[in-house]
């Protein structure tokens, strides 16, 4: 799979809903390598998957690849079903993104596996407005590094893919690039 080329022009980071506006910092729209670096640096990273995996099989493929690279998966919204069928063992299947976010806001929480809280959290396959609210909560009330790797630019994440709604291929290439980079060393 081809890498995103340096000279390639990325679309502008237009938020998924033009009215979802806040005064605090907006997500940095970043290239895959920045995200890969964040994952590699993290002590306890995790990938949270959402309900769009039930609609877009390609997202299942990518979640499986992340898993194969050693990333733990918290599966929400029923995304666990196709993942389990592909041999993934998610950390959890029955907690919602809402539960997970509430738990993440608690300093005492030690994670689903008791290994400590997750410091870098990637989100893949979510209804954009639903994820946006959770990212907003995490932005204002926690220090966790949130990264959205969906096709929509998510303004309340710390890092987000830019708006990729016009170019699914670019979205997939960017996911591939992260996966290649985190396995590269």
């Amino acid at each position: 799979m081809a890498q995103v080329k340096k000279e390639e022009k990325y679309p502008i980071a237009k938020r998924f809903d033009i009215a979802d506006v806040q005064v605090s910092r907006e997500a940095q729209a970043v290239k895959p390598e920045v995200i890969a670096r964040q994952i590699k640096r993290a002590k306890n990273p995790v990938l949270v998957t959402g309900g769009y995996l039930l609609k877009e099989p390609e997202l299942v493929d990518y979640a499986v690849k992340f898993y194969e690279k050693g990333l733990k998966i918290i599966a929400t919204g029923g995304s666990s079903k196709p993942l389990i069928e592909r041999g993934v063992e998610p950390l959890t299947v029955s907690y919602t993104l809402h539960h997970f976010t509430q738990y993440m806001l608690d300093d005492e929480w030690q994670g689903f596996d008791g290994n400590g809280k997750y410091d870098v959290v990637l989100f893949l396959g979510f209804i954009p407005y639903y994820l946006s609210r959770m990212l907003s909560a995490l932005k204002h009330f926690s220090k966790v590094t949130t990264i959205s790797i969906d096709q929509f630019y998510q303004p309340h994440a710390k890092f987000s893919f830019t708006n990729l709604t016009r170019n699914k291929e670019l979205h997939y290439r960017m996911l591939d690039e992260i996966i290649n980079l985190i396995g590269g060393e």
Binding site: Q22, G51, G77, I84, V93, S94, H99, F112, K139, H140
Partner: protein, 796 residues
């Protein structure tokens, strides 16, 4: 503060309270139930209960905005929980906003009740007895429990309504700058005002059932037509929209008196039409709020009668563009129209027919009854009814051709619908199927059209593309029955509390669904097949009537209307939600003999610990939905909302790993006991139908379940998780107290998992759990979270 029946200091200040006390005392003589601790509670009286709930179910905030503009010291940046100029921080500001939303919702139902009660008292008299049918003796469970009176006549409802009005004002006051500083106390106030909401709903619905002689708790109410294609377009069509039927109801009477009901189509949208069908089952249901622009832009109405709540704020413009006269009836939404209430009927008719005015404000129900049919007939005579969303196919195609795929529409659509792709595909191939696919998920909010630089009539394009299917989405809705019978409660009370009936699922509320409408039917049918009780109301109840299975049947045609295992009960319009709360209260009273009178905390505590009822709102958006849900939460009933529900900004989600939060007093042993986290949330949102189903099943689990009850609930929870999530749920072991709780068919497998993966000790010979559970199953377990209840029953 609570009404102190012995004290007199309150009386000095508030004259009307004196009347209220008189009423209570008078009632006291007639009703031998002793007055509980909190009749007519003030803000502070149930605060302890709220704090107990909120200690366990910690409020969660997801800001929409991180700034505040409510006063002129602002705008203030509250991001990362900073404080604004007034001193409020972001979380507390969100709690205040939720309190405001719940106050708006409560005010809506309570003002609705005020309009209704004043009108029916004027029409039928204060002394009209409250008769809800032979099987309903506990006539007003919310009023009995909260207010502490037992209303016998329409006039008796005034006490309850005045109390609600007073408390709503007090809560609204607390949201003024410079009041509350604790977010928990704001949440307590949101719960308080939402309890007022349940009183407002109960007053409104009892008043209309009694005055208008609606079905009285009858399970077998008629089926009426529901859906976009219901009307016979060879007749004049009168369309009602809103929530308060008192204004439009006389249209039916007038036409019936004239013997002309058959010559017209009486139909409508939202709760007003719900109640029209309760009044006369010849009314037909167009659909929920999202059908307003569908129906109007199709030119189907010959006159529209609007009243209050959840009506588009551009209704007049939408009607005018289609040449449809509008009668606005409620002072809540006068729409800038001239007040024609004192005009003679002929003058109103001629002004509307001749187009002198686009509409009128007319609040006299009897006049509306006369005016609407005449105007509809005239408009009908003149109208060209052959065109729907476009005059011609050419015009339709030209509209599609204008699109440049700029995507402005997509980035404002609440569902990010890919209008651009549908348009592009149609432009390239002539195939409109991709546009047609959008119809089901489009709520016809019109935001896309506002954003479109080419001014494309996007809604019309989408509707026209799917016109045939839109017409075909027509089914049957069972007319709202109102309350649940005492006899039904007597039958199901025990199986619900013990758990043999696994739960009561209550799908209620609005239509901002995350995905296809049919998901609602799938979710509900999953529970009906498993013999849960499903009780519905409002827009959900309507949509259920429009959704058909492969054999073309709606759920109403497949499942009976009894409040019993596998029954699908439509209670009616939104205000009939009070009967759902009422059913929970009646279980505590009729089955468990718990006294209701001014005894709210005990009843709510009973519901939380024993009654496996869960509210479900798949597409909530109104303020009323916020107050209905929060009112249920205070009553100890958890609520699951669809993903748009996160925009209410607040949820109540417990943390199962914090063992110290999950305790109860056990009246049997006299000790504080740690329990399993059941239910683990009071308000939670889910993303998909799969997730909704599993969460609903989990949230019916209650600490008081018997072994058999827990076994049944766990069986469903485990099966549903496996079916929809691909494996057993992560937390099932925490709900196991003994081997008796385990599903029979998978018992060995589950015991093995408990042993291998969770380190539990199992006696394999006896197939017994020796060590592992949070607590053992104790058949005499008698849980409560309320200290006073613990003391009261321990003494006994």
């Amino acid at each position: 503060m609570a009404l102190n029946l012995k004290g007199s200091f309150v009386l000095d200040e508030l004259k009307n309270v004196q009347i209220t006390i008189g009423k209570i005392l008078e009632e006291g003589e007639e009703w031998d139930e002793p007055v509980g601790p909190t009749p007519m509670p003030g803000i502070a009286d149930l605060r302890k209960w709220d704090h107990t709930l909120l200690e366990r179910y910690e409020p969660f905030y997801a800001p929409m905005q991180d700034f505040c503009t409510l006063c002129t010291m602002g705008p203030c940046d509250l991001s990362s929980n900073k404080r604004g100029a007034c001193g409020i921080d972001l979380k507390t500001a969100k709690a205040r906003l939720v309190t405001i939303a719940c106050s708006i919702g409560a005010a809506a139902h309570t003002a609705h009740a005020r309009h209704m009660l004043d009108y029916v008292i004027e029409q039928f008299g204060e002394d009209t007895p409250i008769d809800l049918g032979p099987d309903v003796n506990v006539e007003a469970p919310n009023i009995r429990t909260i207010i502490g009176v037992r209303p016998r006549t329409l006039g008796d409802l005034k006490v309850a309504l005045e109390w609600a009005e007073r408390e709503i004002v007090k809560v609204l006051h607390s949201t003024h700058i410079g009041n509350e500083e604790s977010l928990i106390d704001y949440e307590s106030k949101a719960m308080h005002v939402s309890m007022c909401d349940h009183i407002g709903m109960e007053v409104a619905d009892i008043a209309q059932i009694v005055a208008f002689n609606y079905p009285k708790a009858e399970p077998d109410t008629p089926l009426v037509d529901a859906g976009f294609g219901v009307v016979d377009r060879t007749k004049p069509v009168i369309v009602v929209v809103g929530h308060n039927v008192m204004y439009a109801r006389p249209v039916m009477d007038y036409l019936e008196e004239q013997g002309r009901l058959d010559e017209f189509e009486i139909t409508g949208l939202c709760c007003t039409v719900h109640d029209m069908t309760r009044y006369n089952a010849r009314a037909k249901v167009f659909g929920p709020i999202s059908y307003q622009l569908r129906v109007i832009r199709a030119g189907l109405p010959d006159i529209v009668i609007s009243d209050e709540q959840c009506i588009r704020a551009d209704l007049l413009e939408a009607c005018s563009l289609m040449g449809i006269p509008l009668i606005a009836t409620s002072d809540a939404a006068m729409r800038g129209l001239p007040d024609a209430t004192d005009w003679p009927v002929e003058k109103i008719v001629s002004a509307l027919i001749n187009g002198e005015v686009p509409g009128v404000f007319l609040s006299d129900p009897e006049k509306i009854g006369q005016v609407a049919p005449i105007v509809a007939e005239e408009v009908f005579r003149k109208k060209d009814r052959t065109k729907l969303f476009f005059k011609s196919d050419d015009e339709f195609r030209e509209e599609i051709a204008k699109c440049t795929q700029c995507m402005n529409c997509v980035f404002t659509c609440p569902h990010s619908l890919r209008i651009d792709q549908g348009m592009a595909h149609a432009q390239k191939t002539g195939d409109i199927s991709k546009l047609a696919e959008l119809e089901d998920r489009c709520i016809a909010c019109m935001k896309c059209e506002q954003a479109c630089p080419k001014k494309i009539k996007i809604i019309n394009v989408i509707m026209q593309s799917n016109l045939q299917n839109l017409y075909a989405k027509t089914g049957m809705m069972r007319v709202g029955r109102g309350p649940i019978q005492d006899t039904e409660i007597r039958k199901v009370g025990q199986p619900i509390v013990f758990g043999q009936i696994p739960g009561v699922i209550a799908p209620v509320g609005c239509v901002n669904y995350p995905d296809l409408k049919d998901d609602l039917r799938e979710i509900i049918e999953e529970f009906l097949r498993r013999k849960y009780i499903v009780v519905t109301s409002g827009c959900h109840a309507m949509d259920i009537g429009m959704l058909k299975d492969e054999e073309g049947k709606t759920l109403y045609e497949k499942y009976p209307g009894n409040f019993d295992a596998g029954g699908l009960v439509n209670v009616g319009a939104c205000v009939a939600d009070s009967h759902i709360a009422g059913a929970a209260i009646k279980i505590a009273n009729i089955f468990a003999m718990r006294p209701l009178r001014g005894n709210y905390a005990e009843i709510a505590d009973y519901a939380l610990n024993r009654i496996g009822a869960v509210g479900f709102s798949w597409g909530p958006y109104s303020h009323k939905a916020a107050s209905i849900a929060t009112g249920f939460n205070r009553l100890g009933v958890p609520v699951v909302v669809g993903p748009h529900g996160t925009k209410y900004r607040r949820a109540y989600i417990g943390k199962p790993w914090k063992k110290e939060k999950w305790w109860v007093y056990d009246i049997k042993t006299g000790e504080k006991t740690y329990i399993e986290p059941a239910p683990d949330a009071l308000l939670i949102s889910v993303e998909t139908k799969e997730e909704a189903i599993v969460q609903l099943a989990k949230l019916t689990i209650r600490p008081n379940d018997t072994g058999m009850g827990r076994q049944i609930k766990l069986t469903h929870y485990l099966e549903l998780s496996k079916k929809y999530l691909g494996r057993y749920p992560d937390d099932w072991p925490i709900y196991v107290r003994s081997e008796a709780d385990l599903p029979l068919r998978t018992k060995d497998e589950l015991l093995k998992i408990l042993e291998d993966e969770h380190g539990w000790k199992i006696d394999w010979e006896k197939k017994k759990i020796l060590e592992g559970p949070i607590r053992p199953l104790d058949p005499g377990f008698n849980p409560t979270l309320v200290e006073e209840v613990f003391e009261k029953y321990s003494r006994k």
